[in-house]
Symmetry: C2
Subunit: 653 residues, 2 copies
Amino acid sequence: MKQAKWIWRPGEFEIYHHMLLSFRRQEKGCDYPCCWHICRPEASVRFRRTFTAEKDGAFTVVTRGKGMVRFNGKLWPVNTAIPVPAGTYDVSVEIFDLDAFPSIYINSDVLVTDESWFTDPYDAVMVPAACEPAFTSPEDDPAVFPFAYEDIAPVSVEDVPGGLLYDFGREQFGPVRMTVPDGAEVLLVYGESREEALDPENAIIRETLTAADDPDRPARAFRYIAVLGDAAKDVTPAARLEYLPIEDKASFRTAEPGLDKIWDLCARTFHLNSREFFLDGIKRDRWVWSGDAYQSYMIARYLYNDPSVTERTIFALLGKPPYKLHVNTINDYSAYVIVSVWEHYEATGRLDFIRTVWPNVKALYAFIASRLDENGYVVRRNGDWIFVDWGVLDKDGPHCFEQILLWQTHRAMAKLAALLGEPDAYTDRAEALRARVLADFWDAEKGAFIDSFTSGRRFVTRQTNVFAVLYDFVEGGQKQSVIDNALLNPDLPAITTPYFKLYELLALCRIGKIETAQDYIASYWGGMLKEGATSVWEAYDPAQSGAAHYAMYGSPYGKSLCHAWGSGPILLLCRYVAGVYPTAPGGRTFRVAPNPGKYKAFQATVPVGEGFVYLDYNAPTVTVRATVPGGVFSDGRTETPLEAGETCTFTLP
Amino acid sequence: MKQAKWIWRPGEFEIYHHMLLSFRRQEKGCDYPCCWHICRPEASVRFRRTFTAEKDGAFTVVTRGKGMVRFNGKLWPVNTAIPVPAGTYDVSVEIFDLDAFPSIYINSDVLVTDESWFTDPYDAVMVPAACEPAFTSPEDDPAVFPFAYEDIAPVSVEDVPGGLLYDFGREQFGPVRMTVPDGAEVLLVYGESREEALDPENAIIRETLTAADDPDRPARAFRYIAVLGDAAKDVTPAARLEYLPIEDKASFRTAEPGLDKIWDLCARTFHLNSREFFLDGIKRDRWVWSGDAYQSYMIARYLYNDPSVTERTIFALLGKPPYKLHVNTINDYSAYVIVSVWEHYEATGRLDFIRTVWPNVKALYAFIASRLDENGYVVRRNGDWIFVDWGVLDKDGPHCFEQILLWQTHRAMAKLAALLGEPDAYTDRAEALRARVLADFWDAEKGAFIDSFTSGRRFVTRQTNVFAVLYDFVEGGQKQSVIDNALLNPDLPAITTPYFKLYELLALCRIGKIETAQDYIASYWGGMLKEGATSVWEAYDPAQSGAAHYAMYGSPYGKSLCHAWGSGPILLLCRYVAGVYPTAPGGRTFRVAPNPGKYKAFQATVPVGEGFVYLDYNAPTVTVRATVPGGVFSDGRTETPLEAGETCTFTLP
């Protein structure tokens, strides 16, 4: 027989673990529920298939829920051997699990559970079952996320007023075990910074523990842990790193000062945030945000090129209809989900996944469409958050940024519909929208898009125009005008958030301004390294010093010191410096178009499709070897096909 | 301060307890999940209000979940006193409860929880909070349904082969406590009949217990319990009745032989099935079925005239959108929900309830409408069950019965929309549908409606024509034709299910054929009484004898011996013999139109609105006293206003 696997309804594993995750935030002694609607898994699910037993046998349905088996004309209990006379049968298993989500496991000579089963949540639409590679034995529990663990020891323990300060050397995430003796009481203060750990009043996570408390504390972010109180020296916090065992596929090495360290800082930061789903940051709030995730998908495609975290995150963000508010309550964030589903297909070619999420993608699109105004524009409706970015934006009336994103959403839907053989109800909308946006938002005098045509301020921001370039909303002379008058216009307000900075750098790289990105990497990420960062911060302002770096959102330690969007250099270096990217879904064809910019030399390994591209650049020559066919080398002028496995040397112009 | 109450999002209490109920069915050692989609409560809910503290004080948010309080510019934990300086505040409590459903309780000098709070499940649509009268102290737990309990002793204990048989005298429902000594094992067999309890192989509920099992067994239906095995005499099943403490308001007493006993049998049966929701029957399957519930609503309005079980049942049946299949998977059953919401308003005038369920009613209607064919007819779609009734029906193509029910559904929507000040998108549909039905299904030659116009069989059934009369789908000569050619036509197949029989009897009473109903009550219910019934059976065939009465659905004890729909005589006697019914919402006006039929004398108490009507009939005079204004007495020829509190005597023609 084939490998037996725990199976469930597609998306239920993700919905369940996303639900748990969304209610784990704690802040200053409060449980802080996620501030948007969180879906629950189905209470009950049916599993079915037809099978043939060549000889007599038996099978047992293992489940952590309850239910029954319809087989051979009778009802049978679960977790009990059911005899199977040789023959062909329909078998149906009906399970409810009110603690987690319905899942089953069968491993026998006559029948096993795997993706060949079908399931429905009693809606009469049977779809193939889902599974995860970690759940293959009857003892496995799909309600427990399969993290890996590693003991971590402090690099120093220091006497501090009132107790001890443990320094674990660098940013960590994991559970701490600490047994408090009878009658004693200790205060545990977690700090991403030393200052935070030593400031119980203002630290985000602090807790008072006694012998009555569970010695196993929930997994949290920290570098420092302060143990305070009379009994501080009688207890020892035994810490473990909790992580997802996922191997890097990309690497990038140069002789540029500090750049290898920046890469490693970014990679570690990204791994710490790659968990059940892509987190924004590991300290606060540890929720799943679509805007942050959209950037993480792009980074993950290069760093470890494994679709699993991306797909789980898309499942979690899509949740389940009905959609009553936008994803994360943010209009842009619903759009990013749909755009990213298409981009995920482009990057991976994983059609089964697209087919699975398609009903929810359509429902989310219908929700977006239901809230457009009479001109087909995104406008603010009850409960909407028109986010775009923090900073100076003119949000009066329809905002141009949202319309460009909507245009890309219509186009993503058109491509997804074509892929799945469904009618195109989208392209006409995209074209009508584009024409209207050009009429309403294009300022011929300024040669760029304005944010709002209703306010009268005719304000031009980088954000809107960055997306016009990133998404090819304009071409030719109009694109050049956007570049000259917005992207490269020093008089416009600078983008100040690292979140949007990544989009801006991507747009700059896209128009060949690689040196600008390289300079920014050196100063911004290099600057953080000099400040002693062991993971990339949520934001960094070189003008600040000391503990001022840790303040944000009105709280002295409100800033996350390990934020996924800080890992952008991995994307910039792989996609634009090494210049490797797929040109057909799943990397069936791909291009290698290195642009070393300021770098004199680099060695890069970049995954694409099922293979890798190895580059070794020493100005002005680059040797390239791709392990898979379909590649083309481009020096910006001519294109040369790459043979799989062959090393070629090119001289860059 | 006002009375403090536990509060929650409207419907969540019902969704939660309906979920538990739907997964309690057991059959022959299997847990038997409900065979349609069951909704789960929300994971998280926000509670908000504005309040003024006249002086300094404090409040504590009591909850069985987790979460936090946003108050006075800070976050505060739950279950901890929060200081309140005198002043006016917005307070917001955010709660998640993954075990049950989010609920809170505050009882303080400055703030209490009650219906004046608002809640949303993070969808930005705040609605008033809900509560139940049983939950008013901080120790109460809304996750535990507030049943009442009463010890019940067996009326006999009998030695039987292999053990003991306990007879509890009549149909019961409740938990049994039984402690099995170490090393022993007993088999517990529940029987609604003696035969079932003594037939472990075929009994619906049997279980083997050891010392390791919880001595408190789940509540189940039984009259008999067999305890079998070597240790049978070492254990004692201590049984309790589990019930809803709800007092009867109606009574009906006559000198007719057996009729008082029939009333009592019906009343007890109805109480046993009036629980969290209206059950179909208490043994098997104990799920909530909309068709059964529709009849129970009508009976409840008379027997105890308390809206609570009806409203909980409507909440449970509506569940939450999106609707992917019909209620209970049955097309008719979705329609009954909508029709019953209107009828509930007519009976009670409870506008707040209507307003609360209206969004889901609209969503369910939209679902129904989305599955109509191009002619606006109900047709069978994937997963649909066009039920109507068991028995001989022509279900080819659109079925006339379903269209008449749809017509009533459109009309109910029109009346609900008018009530709530919303536009009427329904009446035109109703009228167009009626015209089309008359064109397609009316057989002028047969003078009645045919079931199907596509099969060519032109088959006339009572079911379809009963509803044409019940819902006034036809009037005047056409109605008379339906009566003559269908309802009173002895050549048509008889209705054989007690479920549909009640609709038929209602239609017959409606056209004045009260004697037919009275004869049927005497023979059918009287017949069951003679067979020793202690509650009304799911079905009864006088031609059967002995244990053959207990077989159904291919199982020797498959028949439920305590089925709610069997309580119909209560409705027939109050509505048509006593003749009391509201003529304006909530009984603001009402009519008293007694029709004694064959009965020479009766004394009836019938609730209407907030009051009662007392009738004392001794042929040919009836004395009538209504405790509330708005009544009119009708002898079928003239109408006489009734003064509240005054006793009037009339001579019936």
